[in-house]
Symmetry: C2
Subunit: 431 residues, 2 copies
């Protein structure tokens, strides 16, 4: 009966029963919700039904299309070079975007990167950039496009103009435990990336104790869905499945991750972070048709051009390079050493709990809108497979609130598992 077809109740029930929606039904749900005509509680019920029942490819693509259409789609077709971006599904200590953006821009690729804030156990690129004095992460889209064209790279937050439907839906998913649903993850990531007007996209799908996808199979399923959607919308899409069974690099937090990123741009930094950044950067250059992508990446780092590009980006986005160089910037009031409680090998890390320890320290947030202490974070010097003696200093936790830092240190130690036999270290790049 036509008079009843678009009753929200029936649409919730349809998905609850495992049926697929028509494009018109998906449009009704997205439009009505975005315009405030579908109450949050009905959308929440529908989202949870989607969590359990999934979506077909057609449903997913319709969702992505509508999210893009709900806002503005950028266009960089007038530029003389390849336009690409990179996205990670999130983890602890993952600061690759901060390095990769300037790095591939230094190699001639334009990078219009709309990024996110940290939430729950995962960190966010914007919070890190916000720790740079003067740096604007909420430019208008005209300024964003101008900086991309002039500098080659601009990293800022999603504006209200880009996929407002996704923005509203994500806020609801965030508080209803439906952030982890594959089709919704896929829709949320891809709509924003496609709306950037890019031609190529490298997706880093994290896998392990600190990732939304615990198993390689889950990560593979998500990677495939992301690729399908990218291809359906004409974006060359490469996916990597990479390890998040321990924090990436050594530093996790806000300011300490910016520092570690600059180390890598200057030719130093932890080996895992360097290796992953180079791989993903080369993937983008390969998409852009460059003949020797690995070599180009090495040269951009060795020559200092990547570091220069980072500084150009900071300056273009209002950042203060002199303040950035001040060793007293974001110096924490409290630093507590992490002491190995026993002799043995680091066997496993509950990386999710490491992320939660960051929240305890003040370096993350449980809810959108909460403030972050830029000085807070940790440095963990040991990797799975490393040997320690009881009493060794294996890292440090820091921040401005002594009680929080102490609690975080205890949580972090509890997230580390030790054993007598040497375990084999996890593979960094799984696929």
């Amino acid at each position: 009966m036509i008079s009843r077809t678009m009753i929200p109740y029936d649409l919730i029930r349809k998905k609850q029963q495992g049926e697929a929606h028509s494009p018109e039904e998906i449009r009704y749900l997205v439009d009505a919700f975005t315009e405030g005509n579908l109450p949050d509680y009905q959308m929440a019920a529908w989202l949870m039904a989607v969590h359990f029942r999934g979506m077909t490819i057609d449903e997913r693509h319709e969702l992505v299309r509508l999210m893009i259409e709900s806002g503005r789609k950028l266009d960089f077709s007038h530029l003389d070079g390849y336009v690409a971006d990179k996205h990670s599904t999130g983890g602890v200590g993952d600061k690759v975007s901060l390095i990769l953006g300037p790095l591939v821009a230094a190699c001639g690729v334009y990078v219009p990167m709309l990024s996110g804030r940290g939430l729950g156990h995962t960190g966010g690129t914007l919070d890190k950039l916000d720790a740079i004095p003067g740096f604007y992460t909420s430019l208008d889209l005209d300024a964003f496009q101008r900086i991309v064209a002039e500098v080659g790279v601009c990293i800022m937050g999603q504006t209200d103009d880009i996929c407002p439907a996704d923005k509203k839906m994500y806020a609801l998913r965030d508080v209803t435990a439906t952030v982890g649903s594959l089709p919704l993850i896929c829709g949320s990531i891809m709509s924003k990336k496609i709306a950037e007007g890019i031609r190529g996209l490298v997706l880093d799908v994290k896998c392990g104790s600190g990732a939304f996808m615990g198993s390689v199979d889950e990560a593979r399923t998500l990677a495939q869905a992301l690729r399908e959607t990218g291809e359906a919308f004409g974006v060359d899409t490469v996916t990597r499945i990479t390890d998040m069974s321990q924090p990436l690099g050594k530093a996790a937090g806000v300011w300490c991750e910016v520092q570690e990123s600059i180390e890598v741009l200057e030719g130093g930094g932890p080996p895992d972070l360097i290796a992953l950044t180079k791989t993903l950067s080369a993937d983008i250059l390969r998409l852009a048709g460059q003949s020797e992508p690995e070599q180009a990446v090495e040269e951009a780092l060795a020559s200092g051009r990547a570091r220069e590009k980072f500084e150009q980006m900071v300056t273009a986005q209002g950042g203060d390079l002199q303040a950035l160089a001040d060793p007293q910037l974001h110096a924490p009031n409290v630093t507590i050493p992490l002491i190995a409680p026993q002799e043995g090998y680091l066997a496993a890390v509950d990386t999710y709990e490491c992320g939660m320890a960051l929240i305890t320290a003040g370096a993350g947030r449980l809810h959108q809108g909460e403030d972050i202490d830029p000085t807070a974070g940790f440095v963990l010097e040991v990797k799975i497979g490393d040997q320690v003696q009881a009493g060794d200093e294996i890292g440090r936790v820091f921040g401005n609130d002594e009680g929080k830092v102490q609690a975080a240190a205890a949580e972090l130690l509890a997230a580390l598992q030790w054993q007598d036999e040497q375990p084999s270290p996890p593979q960094l790049i799984l696929e």
Copy 2:
């Protein structure tokens, strides 16, 4: 970590993952929601997760306990007789409560019946009683208890004092397609019935095309859960599984169902309605320890005492017996005959669609609070297995709005399925 245990997000996620809640967690969810400290959208997500994951017996009983504790529990222990009630899971044309209440009260059992309104395809006892001129269905609990004590039966709506937690949760389930979840049905029914302060309860679990439980297996599962909960709270509980593969009796609507109920109280009425009413009434008398329950039921009907008790109840609740006897009361403006479209046997009835046709006619509501046309309804003279000739008048649809009545007649005819061979009629009382 203690500081995070009662974060609603974690509780939603726990149920989403299929884990059982602790009593404290159930208490937090129910209390916070009832007090307005848990937003609707989080409760909606949790309810949908419960739909998919279910609840353990312990969780269900805790839910019932909290719903009862959220309000007032009645006490009839000072009365000199057995106190019992009957509840049906809902269907089309089910007016048994209207007859059974006075009938068993005429046999010496006290019946404090808190009933509900019609919603979706199912009718509600209160809407029918509201069609009696002057009849109050929203008395305060003191008046309710007094009438039960003096007359033996009182039927009215759930007040704000009884299970307010359930009332609020039901309103949300109603718009989020989570009304059909077994543990939630169980919690909602049993909390209200136990709060009535009854000692015995007969539950009519409907099964078939017009019931929430489509299959006998589902009905059996629900019946068992209801019995378990009743016993856990010290209420003698009998369950029946009965047929709802076609409307019960002939009349469906508001006023026409009151008329058919009075017919039965006067010794007439359709055989299926009579049989089911007698069976359920005898079940209550058996619970009350009466030695010849079937005979007592027959005598109460034949002697006119059941009819008298109905009139006493109507009078006690403010109803006007003279107005009730007026043949022009709720006379519809429009009556359309239902004509058999072909020769053959009635093979099946989409009873859900019959209920939706009632909404179209004006005799039901899709959303809580919508008005109902008391004159609207239908009478269907044929039962599954009956033979008709093309052109036979098989019933009528009526109401005050010609367009609606015509649309409803078309929907009703479309809900009837005909065949050449005689099918066997469904069994009325399955278990």
